[in-house]
Symmetry: C2
DNA sequence: GGGAATCTAGAACACTCATTACAGATGTCG
DNA sequence: CGACATCTGTAATGAGTGTTCTAGATTCCC
């Protein structure tokens, strides 16, 4: 049974939200395998028992951390999707990505890359989860471009699937540029150049 | 003392080159931390003692594996650098990258990404090594573009540093696309679209 | 207040990690 | 053949892994 769900008995004595936030930041920085339960107990300020009761095992905790990351941090893409026109969407996508990657207080790269790219056999579920999320992001991007195609904003000569992969490629590349240590100004100029070459 | 260097005594009984190749492939797939010495002993067909005598500790072995990777696998970039004109260079860069990422027999992504992006405190030297290599690749790219600037092939309106980062971003993005499971045909079309937008 | 339910703390668990010690095997050189 | 140098195989090392057990603390409901 998970901590905090019981109706009677001793209530939990810690901030579940804050603990999960700490776990997320640690996973974000060190990845799934690079983060040990000992590291987590320290960062979350909890004993193993409390963590296991509240969040389940390491992989379950990782999943919750990733979920939180997607909902609270990596929302820049989702926000851009709401832009009314294709041009505004793409401009917002690049601007939000750069802003996200250079926000202080967390690693300058996407959690789906630090989380697990290469990993041991045991951690393949974590790696697959990261890949799955990257693909889902791409699906959302594709749907937005399909909408643009229908509204006539996307020229007929451009294939939606190809354009999706192309934009996705640039966004992913920006994340690596940031991980390499590019400054905010440099990332901005790179994004600006991408926009120019896209015709915006 | 390293195995095989002694003039007298029992000679080594294994193929050092083949063993290092096996280690490289395993590191490439699972990364530095995701690969255990036990995995390596099995894949290399050697006992720990032989590995330590011949290659040093785990990090030294990783460095040798990365060196081999750069010299024998990731030469696609270097090969493209030799192209005489800027256009031929960039076309070759994209074509070689796609060919490299889709070559059977090794993971469909760059070793500098699987090697270590997020990792534990102990493995930060490995991560830094990966970052360093990505940066070095970028330096080589920049020098080629500088040459193009001097020869007049690169329009004056384009900043060399920005263009370097932009191309580097796309190449890195392609590696992630491949890791996501993109097919060879898809990667080719993505590269083709990138070339079109670059004006080629 | 008494019992049941729940949470907390820390030790303990079985296992894997990278690394090394040791003994035996196999070669070269005199 | 004999002395020496080097390599190989196995077992052991101590530290670290994720996870669970146990005892005690704290709260709710009756």
């Amino acid at each position: 049974m998970k901590t905090g769900e019981g109706k009677t008995g001793r209530p939990i004595n810690f901030d579940k939200d804050a603990a999960l936030e700490a776990a997320m930041l640690l996973f974000w920085e060190r990845g799934y395998e690079g983060t040990s339960m000992a590291d987590l107990t320290q960062a979350m300020g909890l004993n193993p028992s409390s963590i296991y009761a509240a969040f389940g095992d390491k992989h379950a905790l990782f999943q919750l951390a990733v979920k939180r990351y997607m909902e609270k941090r990596a929302i820049y893409a989702g926000k851009a999707l709401e832009e009314p026109t294709l041009e505004k969407f793409i401009r917002a996508l690049f601007a939000n990505t750069v802003a996200f990657l250079t926000t202080p207080g967390h690693p300058p790269t996407c959690m789906t890359l630090t989380g697990a790219v290469g990993c041991s056999r045991d951690a393949t579920p974590a790696r697959d989860l990261m890949t799955e999320i990257r693909k889902q992001n791409q699906v959302a991007l594709r749907e937005r471009l399909l909408k643009a195609r229908k509204s006539g904003e996307l020229p007929k000569g451009i294939n939606v699937d190809d354009y999706t992969r192309y934009l996705s490629t640039i966004i992913a590349g920006l994340s690596i540029q940031a991980a390499n240590g590019s400054t905010k100004a440099e990332l901005k100029r790179t994004a600006e150049m991408a926009l120019q070459h896209l015709g915006y």
